[in-house]
């Protein structure tokens, strides 16, 4: 279930009255305004909206990369906006997997080593880490490229390594920030296939930010973000349907 009216309860992700303001020069910019969102486990949500509408900011707040100006972010019962830096980092390691548009792999590490990075923060043994990494790389179809460096991989393969890195620690939530934005259609489709599979087979809760309507259609729920507010869209992608503001 996905709700944008702030009336849900007990959802995996609960955003309440979320405000985010940035100060640029002397000017204060409202990026998110009183945003509410409830998302249950296993949902696949796509966020669309014009540039600067706050999609990435929203993703960062859900992932604990940034703090809201006001409001609360509660995920799996933890109010993460109140966690300290050290605890928030540990929480992120346990619950969140990130997939970026530009892959963000460490260039001096092989695919295997890149995927292993999140596991270095755990107490897993070397053998256990190897098992997890191989499974993750196998899932994205890159078992035969595990000792390649990022520069030796195509863009699509790099993004698959990034997906493997995001899922290797078995996070609760996957946050994907335009994961196909830098790829051709064929490679993009491959990435979307993997993300869809993670949703359907592995029941991951996925938030996808995209400008691509084709990518957005893979999601079970499409939300439109504009001027700091969320609008829930119909399956055919029409935006002006239900607004979170209705109940306010």
């Amino acid at each position: 279930m996905v709700r944008v009216d702030g009336k849900g309860s007990g959802a995996l992700v609960e955003l309440r009255s979320l405000d985010k303001k940035y100060r640029r020069g002397g000017e204060e910019i409202d990026v998110l305004r009183g945003l509410n969102l409830d998302v249950d486990t296993g949902e696949f949500i796509a966020f669309m909206g014009p540039s600067g509408s706050g999609k990435t900011t929203l993703l960062n707040l859900i992932g604990g990369l940034d703090n809201p100006s006001s409001g609360t972010v509660r995920i799996a019962g933890d109010e993460i906006s109140k966690l300290s830096g050290r605890h928030l980092a540990a929480w992120r390691a346990r619950h969140i997997g990130f997939i970026f548009q530009m892959y963000n792999l460490i260039p001096v590490l092989t695919a295997f080593q890149n995927v292993q990075l999140p596991l270095l923060l755990t107490n897993l043994s070397k053998a256990e880490r190897r098992k997890h990494v191989e499974a993750a790389l196998d899932l994205v179809g890159l078992s035969d490229r595990m000792h390649h460096y990022p520069r030796q991989l195509s863009g699509g393969q790099e993004q698959r390594v990034a997906i493997a890195r995001a899922i290797v620690a078995d996070p609760t939530i996957l946050l994907c920030d335009e994961p196909t934005g830098d790829l051709d259609r064929a490679s993009g489709d491959e990435i979307l296939d993997i993300i869809s599979r993670l949703s359907k087979e592995f029941k991951k809760t996925i938030f996808l930010v995209t400008h691509d309507p084709v990518a957005a259609k893979r999601a079970g729920t499409l939300l439109h973000l504009d001027k700091g507010s969320l609008l829930e869209c119909t399956a055919d992608g029409q935006f002006a349907c239900k607004s979170e503001d209705r109940g306010r």
């Binding site: 960062n60 992932g63 990369l65 940034d66 830096g85 050290r86 980092a89 540990a90 992120r92 390691a93 346990r94 969140i96 990130f98 970026f100 530009m102 963000n104 460490i106 001096v108 590490l109 080593q113 990075l117 999140p118 270095l120 923060l121 890195r165 620690a169």
Partner: protein
Amino acid sequence: MKFLHLIVLNLRRKKTRTALTIGSFLIALFLFGILMTIKTALGSGVDVAGADRLVVRNRVSLIQPLPFAYRERILQVPHVRDVTFATWFGGYYQDMKNFFPNFAIDVEAYRRVFPEYKFTDEEWRGFVEDREGCVISPPLAKKFGWKIGDRIPLEATIWGGTWEFNVRAIYETDRKEFTSPELWFHYDYLDERRTFFKGLVGWYTVKVDDPANAVEVAGAIDERFANSPWESKTETEKAFAAGFANQIGNIRLLILSIGSVVFFTLLLVTGNTMASAVRERTGELGVLKTIGMNDQTVLFLVMAESIIVAAIGGGAGLALAKLFTLRGDPTGGMLPNFYLASRSLALGFALAIAAGAAAGVIPALGAMRLKIVDALRRV
């Protein structure tokens, strides 16, 4: 040490830059090692000085002598247990480059006052009984291949002519600081043959009954010879040795000055390198934080990089300095105890690590405080 691999790989990203930074540590610590070796060599007398020994010298300067007759008068001072004396000879073997310290000594009391030098009774007796006999140190014996029974000619720079000596004893000692190349011979032999300064000695060494009485004894001796043509200056053996070393300048200040400049430059160079490295990897640091690495671990990664560079460069520099000093005194006798002490090695390595840590701390704090959203924007 799960992240060691990542740290090493980061250092290998810009091989030239890393090599140059390591090189600057290497040169700095090599220089440090050599300076410390020189300091140790010049100050070796200071380190071996006995706490219960005083040195009485001419108040005007060390090269001015004192009357032989002072010996008895010093012995009369309360708390003085023994007195011996020596005079600088300043001879060299065959060529000036073969210069080494050599003294005319008071054969009767010298062994009693300096018990750290060990002899067999037979060798000592042989020395005492031979007016032209001499004692040499093991390094001197090794340097010229001399052995007991050899006859050695020395050219005298002060007293003139060639003086010949018979090697009668080679002392032994447990302490490396005592083993400088040196030669002692009979004061009587010197005084009999020289044409000037007869009846005068270079300096007295006084053994007191208790180190606690040293100040009182020093005052009493100087008071005894005050207002005489040969006024004395009595000081602890340590102060005397330090004064001797400082004749060529304030070594400690010199080393401190050079060392401070080098280390300050090193801090700037390494700090700049680490700041560049962190700046270039801002996005990656953001990714590491995103996947759950906490701020303290990020701080540790950057600090570790800086410290590893310092350890490699500093270690290599000190190792080179050690190798250099293993060849012995490069001055041909001016710095007899030319060796890099373990204590200096440890101090040098600790300083290198400290410099590495200090150079890395500001970039590391910057990396630690980096906000993830800001870092990711720079990818």
